[in-house]
Symmetry: C3
Subunit: 344 residues, 3 copies
């Protein structure tokens, strides 16, 4: 039994991270290789030659096929043998490497973990701000040596900003607004609505006008392991509501955590926004700043993972501020059980 | 079952090694954090926040309290919560980090491993030369990647000096005096008494006069894991005896081994003496020399630990020279059994 | 149960690799120490002092004996105690370190793994070209982090040259000649005979004349873990046959794989030849080139070992080109079973 949900889509890479050259990455414990075909679609294949198991990512691309570096077995993008090591040997079409369903959406390449015939692109988490008209989206990647659920805990809780990010985005004031939480099916929402306050400098500049604003922070957990944080301000007289708050400036922090092993994950982070969307300088500066903030989380989370391993007699406790993470973990655990009962 | 005695005091640090800034150190398998309060007394606490387990040693000191770097839970020096992550949340006083009994004596900070209510300072090993009037004491620290009992074996045997320390303190002559050994309750004593010999240069200079001397080497093992080695000379006509030999110059090598894991330990070493006690230059030179000698032991002991692991079909054997270590190990094993029978 | 055959000779070192100074090397899971006596014969001893297990290879040579660096126990080349740590203590002749049968042949030092009384030098694999009149032999050593059987697979298959060694010795043409394989008792032979072809540049230069040649490649596996590859050309009218082909120029690639652990081995490789045998410049150049080629195999084989470990749900498959390795593994497995049934 794993700590992650199966029959689900996980981010394998940023779209730009996969080219015609094979890239090796372990997803949910499975060594995989990814590359693009000439038509730009993405291939995901077990990173082990069906012959003698050399990683296929060490191989040579020939058109859309891959030739193993060891004995030259050539496999098509469907994983099926196209040429044997001895070129004159008849090709045994039962020789094949496992392939995985992939789909490109929201600037990410997603890979399906589970029963391949259930891989429905409609099940990809709806990270709509990453690809909606009038929005722009960019971000980065970190390898994090901790259970991916510790990162979900982190993102579903905004109080840690005060301490972990004290030199950048942390502010004691933000702690004072009441916090609300709601589970909606497989989603968890956690939000603060601050009405009629002064906008902080960053948002005042983005909004481009003075005066009192409504300000919000809305964290949303989506199965199997994404978190979106809706942030922004609108003039107080514009009538923004929790349901509709596009009257001002709005950003969406987008984070996708893909398990690598039980104690490590791939962390894809970024920021979508619906203002100044053609200002590439702003995009680059914001990405650099966000990268700095998440690097602070990396230090904390990796130390937390080690402390968990070094204190096997203790366990974590949860307080009011942890309700978002607690509920996200409940939804994950429920989905894992459901999959198991199906299989049983 | 561990290889170390519980319900016992272990050295956590030299007194100067603990300041107001938290220091992380694993003692007998337990990750701990140490710091001094404003009144200079020492706090020892489990190095894991009771909230999400981040090491508290990464936290921020506020007066005598510690605030966790992750979500800001603030704990007093008694480990009990003083402020929740959300400052307005009512404080749950049942939230606390485990604390450990500590006591400062003989220039060391001692921590109690076992049942806290049995932590009686009277049980601290009597390393009297480290704090007696007319004596001075200083030394250093090494991390040693071996079972702490291998270091006890090493210190309860003076014959290895000839080979391991051939370039410094080793001398073939020392091997010729007969060796005596006696177990007194929980102590082991092992000694050589050399009567009417010429003092070696170091001791002749310390004594400050010519002529035949009595010379002694008395190793003493004390539970749970200290060794003191009484060394010195006295003029032969001064009437020095095993029981009373303060007629000349006397030094006491003091070594405390604190288990970190089953295969590593903290090694606190030093030298107390009752001559030239205000000569700080002598103290510094002697400490540097002693550090060089014990670094030679570190190489040997870590290689020995690895050989033990790499030859699982073999076991160590003991000859006459090992009787001190053998008896110290018997006393340790007996104390471990006694503690277990108590618990059963 | 190990993956290697017991009651067999394994190469411990090149002859020049063992001198009067102790050398530590783990053979088939056993830490050993090797050195030469004054009469140049080789001693192999368990690399752990029978006293406190310090590696004997850290000790001091005294004549043909070794004195442990820790307490000075002195052992003769037969492993038996010659002097106790206290020199005046009576020597206990039952104190001894395990020794191993060794034999020097074919430029290698061989060590016997298994029942010592069965260590018959006649059982050393017959690597005759390494020491025959009219031949010269030299080569090198690599430590390889993979199961030794993966290297046997590699050497018993010449098709990988095209892909792994594409920049050096690989040639697509070589793939076209038919391959034959035969098991003869404990040997596997795998060969190609190419008749009436043009000699490639290397062999044309070695032969020193123009015209069509017979060319051969004959791989031979020998228990427990050696492979010899007979390569060369002869003028087509000289009447060379598989059984007798010394009419032209001939080389013999010699490879001995000695298990270190289940996932690492010592790789001794070289080339014997019967032409230009006094041209030391040729020998040096050829050794450098061969070292470069085998370094390419090292990269592949270590990646293969890791892929095997990272894909525990998959297993290797074998095609026609793998028949040599498959049969060599069958012979190894049969020998392991035979030894076990003997012991049962």
């Amino acid at each position: 039994m794993t700590s992650w949900v199966e029959n689900a889509w996980y981010v394998a890479s940023w779209d730009a991270g996969i080219t015609s050259t094979p890239k090796a990455r372990t997803i949910c414990g499975i060594p995989m290789m990814f590359y693009r075909k000439l038509d730009r679609s993405v291939v995901a294949m077990r990173d082990a030659c069906p012959h003698r198991m050399l990683p296929l990512s060490m191989g040579i691309k020939e058109g859309d096929s891959i030739r193993c570096k060891y004995h030259g077995l050539k496999l098509g993008p469907d994983g099926v043998a196209e040429e044997m090591p001895l070129r004159n040997d008849p090709v045994n079409k039962r020789i094949c490497a496992e392939t995985f369903a992939v789909h490109e959406r929201h600037r990410f390449v997603w890979v399906w973990i589970g029963d391949k015939d259930k891989a429905d692109p409609a099940l990809i988490p709806d990270l709509w701000p990453c690809s909606a008209d009038g929005w722009t989206f960019d971000g980065g990647y970190y390898h994090i040596a901790c259970d991916y659920r510790l990162m979900i805990d982190n993102l579903m809780d905004l109080t840690h900003e005060t301490h972990v990010h004290s030199s950048s985005i942390g502010q004691p004031e933000i702690m004072e607004a009441p916090l609300e939480c709601e589970v909606k099916g497989d989603k968890v929402e956690l939000w603060r609505w601050m009405s009629g306050i002064d906008a902080p400098p960053f948002w005042r500049e983005a909004l481009g006008k003075e005066g009192p604003v409504d300000r919000w922070q809305i964290c949303q957990f989506l199965l199997p392991s994404s978190v979106m944080i809706d942030v922004g301000v609108a003039p107080v007289d514009a009538g923004a509501t929790l349901a509709n708050h596009d009257q001002g400036v709005r950003g969406m922090v987008v984070d996708c955590m893909t398990p690598e092993t039980e104690t490590s994950h791939h962390y894809f982070w970024g920021m979508a926004r619906n203002f100044d969307i053609n200002d590439v300088g702003f995009t680059a500066r914001f990405k650099a700043q966000q990268g700095g903030v998440f690097a602070e989380d990396k230090v904390i989370l990796e130390a937390q993972q080690q402390a968990i391993e070094q204190n096997p007699d203790l366990k974590m406790n949860s307080y009011s501020i942890d309700q978002g993470g607690v509920r996200a973990r409940q939804i994950i655990a429920r989905a894992i059980r459901a999959k198991e009962e199906q299989g049983a």
